[in-house]
């Protein structure tokens, strides 16, 4: 049982790091959204597994929030926004994908080197989840830095948040995890709304709704 527990947790956490790399690799908007939905799915599976192993039922709520909000609602909403506002569909990167991936590997190695010795007295499960969550956070930061596009920066930020959720569940018994994840999800939801409003101004000269209404009135 111990071996299987560890292996499954390792599978999910390692898979999360892998999907973070896949996020770095994407150069099309819809591919990015789908990969992010996969990222959120893996995180929610990982949290659910931790909830099962730690016998902490409140973590199931966090898993469900991650699944519903981040794997379903936000990718669908972003998909609609991208289509409706006609946002440019390819993502330009500041540096080439190859160098970004190499930098990513370096960051993963760094976070493993940093986290493993520090958490020596925590459980094995917690230790490796923390190391991987720091990797995911740093990879998300790398993604935010190496992309010019606002939507991909937001997705980078959401992947940072997924890494933080993994870390928070790995810290066994941490209270307020559900509240913190809810707060973070609200932040993220507002960012997504912010993109919508932010992009609106590129379509119209002013975002003042009254000006738009006046315009419509004259036409009629």
């Amino acid at each position: 049982m111990g071996r299987l527990v560890f292996d499954v947790a390792h599978l999910f956490a390692g898979g999360l790091v892998l999907v973070s790399f896949m996020l770095l690799y994407q150069d099309r908007m819809f591919g990015l959204l789908n990969t992010f939905a996969l990222h959120a799915l893996v995180v929610s599976l990982s949290v659910a597994w931790q909830a099962y192993v730690q016998s902490a039922p409140h973590l199931y709520i966090t898993a469900v929030i991650a699944l519903v909000v981040k794997a379903i609602i936000i990718p669908v909403a972003l998909h609609r926004i991208i289509v409706r506002l006609g946002i440019h569909r390819t993502i330009e990167a500041v540096v080439g994908i190859g160098q970004t991936m190499l930098a990513g590997i370096g960051l993963v190695a760094l976070s493993i080197l940093v986290m493993l010795p520090i958490t020596a007295q925590a459980g094995t499960l917690a230790r490796e989840d923390l190391a991987f969550s720091l990797s995911v956070i740093l990879l998300g930061l790398l993604m935010m830095i190496s992309r010019r596009n606002a939507v991909s920066q937001v997705i980078g930020f959401m992947s940072i948040e997924n890494g933080l959720i993994l870390a928070a569940t790995a810290a066994k018994g941490m209270p307020l995890v559900v509240e913190i994840s809810v707060a973070f999800s609200i932040l993220v939801a507002l960012i997504v709304i912010g993109i919508f409003l932010f992009r609106i101004r590129e379509r119209f000269d002013t975002v003042d709704v009254h000006a738009l209404e006046r315009f419509r009135g004259e036409r009629a």
Binding site: L134, M144, F157, I160, A171, M174, I180, L187, G194, F198
Partner: protein, 482 residues
């Protein structure tokens, strides 16, 4: 002693929260501003009661020596800013820069911000404090973008992204602190409570604490506006409405620094952990020098004072980094005085921008001739902020430099250099703004000057005579901070 204290503490939270809901729903715009001021007044009165009664530290809320004065200060500045905001917003409404719908939104968010800041100060739980700081970030972001111009949206977006990254890093640091505490204190809420953490920090794993502090300093330091993490600050101050600039500079930066201080206390309690001092000294000094030089090339008046805020936050961080009773005392004083002075400056700058119709300093001249009250208010404010005697900031800066000189003369010289450079820049600009022949628009000012002069009077009075009770209280807190 317990019941009334708990009542007061909850009142400090409930009043702004309910005011936020009420103001968001209320349709009448004239009454909204007055209700806003009333709400903050009630919060302030409730907070002064904390000097008399105090609740027992609970799992979520705590009122101890460290946060009492900050709570009162926050409530006070919140109240005076709401008074200023009433006249400022009335003017914006008349000019058509804001619509009544946005007005409700603005006032609701203002009260929500007060709630969030009070919660962050009162929180005993590390996670709860994080949530409160995040909520405060959110509300200010929404308010910075309220004018909806491209620049305002750009500033709000930058603030959002940088603030969120900072918040994310701070959360990771918080998780690490919990991990460090869990092995000593056990699982559950106790491992996240400030009073427990400071007490038991000596037994925590130093390596974990080190890494946690790095993340926390980077994360909350972004919200304090320390260079090089400051990129959001000038834009947010310049593009948002001036009451928000006043609250950002005067209060939110303080709350973020307060969070860093709490963690510094935890770190200092552990003998084997990294000394947090040198990190803070470095960041503080870099901020001071960077901001001082950046002051010279600003064209926008609010942006210039935003860099001045970066500089002062750098001074305060430097002081707390140096540590020791004198420097900590000076740092606490500086936090208070800067909060009062900078908000006073923004009060005057706000009205100046309104009467002149522009924020460009090249278009603002001869204020003391065209608008004497505003002009001399600005002069007094700038004299205060650059640290000239007899204003309070002179005393705190003097104390910082002397206590640093006694231990690290080179650092003191660097700091003094930064202060002098900033002094030169600000006074040079002030000369252009306040004196000379008037230029530009000449609308009469329909402003409330009381908040501005109240703040400046307080700073002047404190600079001349600090009541012994206050001195001993600050000294006590300074000793707690090590």
């Amino acid at each position: 002693m317990n019941e009334p204290g708990a009542l007061v503490a909850s009142a400090i939270l409930i009043i702004p929260a309910s005011a936020a809901v009420v103001l968001a729903l209320l349709p009448d715009d004239r009454a909204t501003a007055r209700l806003n001021a009333l709400g903050t007044l009630l919060t302030f009165l409730a907070s002064t009661a904390l000097f008399v009664v105090r609740p027992e530290p609970g799992p979520f809320l705590i009122v101890d020596d460290v946060n009492v004065v900050f709570i009162v200060l926050t409530a006070f500045v919140g109240f005076t800013t709401s008074v200023f905001s009433a006249s400022y917003i009335a003017h914006e409404l008349d000019k058509g820069r804001l619509t009544p719908v946005y007005l409700r939104f603005y006032h609701g968010m203002y009260q929500m911000l007060m709630f969030a800041m009070n919660l962050a100060l009162l929180a005993n739980n590390v996670g709860l404090m994080w949530v409160a700081v995040e909520l405060a970030t959110l509300t200010t972001v929404l308010m910075v973008g309220i004018y909806r111009t491209p620049e305002a949206l750009e500033a709000a977006w930058k603030y959002f992204i940088l603030g969120s990254v900072g918040i994310a890093l701070a959360l990771f640091g918080t998780i690490l602190v919990y991990l460090a505490a869990r092995s000593v204190v056990g699982e559950g809420l106790d491992a996240m409570a400030w009073n427990v953490l400071v007490q038991r920090a000596g037994a925590f794993d130093p390596a974990l604490l080190n890494l946690a502090f790095v993340f926390l300093l980077l994360g909350y330091g972004t919200k304090v506006g320390l260079a090089p993490l400051h990129a959001w600050l000038p834009d947010a101050h310049a593009e948002g409405p001036t009451p928000i600039s006043a609250v950002l500079s005067g209060l939110l930066l303080n709350v973020a620094l307060f969070a860093v201080l709490r963690f510094k206390m935890v770190m200092s309690a552990n003998a084997r952990a990294l000394a947090p001092g040198p990190l803070m000294v470095t960041l503080g000094l870099i901020s001071v020098l960077f901001a001082a030089f950046m002051l010279y090339r600003r064209h926008d008046i609010k942006r210039m004072f935003a860099y001045s805020s970066i500089e002062h936050m750098g001074i305060i961080t430097f002081a707390f980094g140096m540590g020791g009773p004198l420097a900590n005392f000076a740092g606490l004083l500086h936090m208070t005085f800067h909060s009062l002075t900078k908000s006073a400056i923004f009060f005057s700058v706000g009205h100046i921008a309104q009467v002149k119709g522009t924020q460009r300093m090249a278009d603002i001249r001869g204020l003391t001739v065209s608008h004497p009250v505003l002009g001399w208010g600005l002069v007094l404010g700038v004299i205060a902020i650059v640290g000239l005697p007899p204003m309070g900031i002179f005393m705190s800066e003097f104390l910082i430099i002397t206590s640093t000189f006694a231990r690290q003369p080179l650092l003191a010289i660097a700091l003094a250099l930064g202060l002098l450079v900033a002094l030169g820049a600000l006074l040079q600009r002030l000369n252009g703004l306040a004196f000379g022949d008037p230029y530009g628009k000449d609308a009469p000012a329909q402003a409330s000057f009381v908040p501005m002069f109240a703040h400046l009077a307080l700073v002047l009075a404190a600079g001349i005579y600090l009541p012994p009770a206050l001195v001993s209280w600050f000294q006590h807190v300074a000793s707690l901070l090590r």
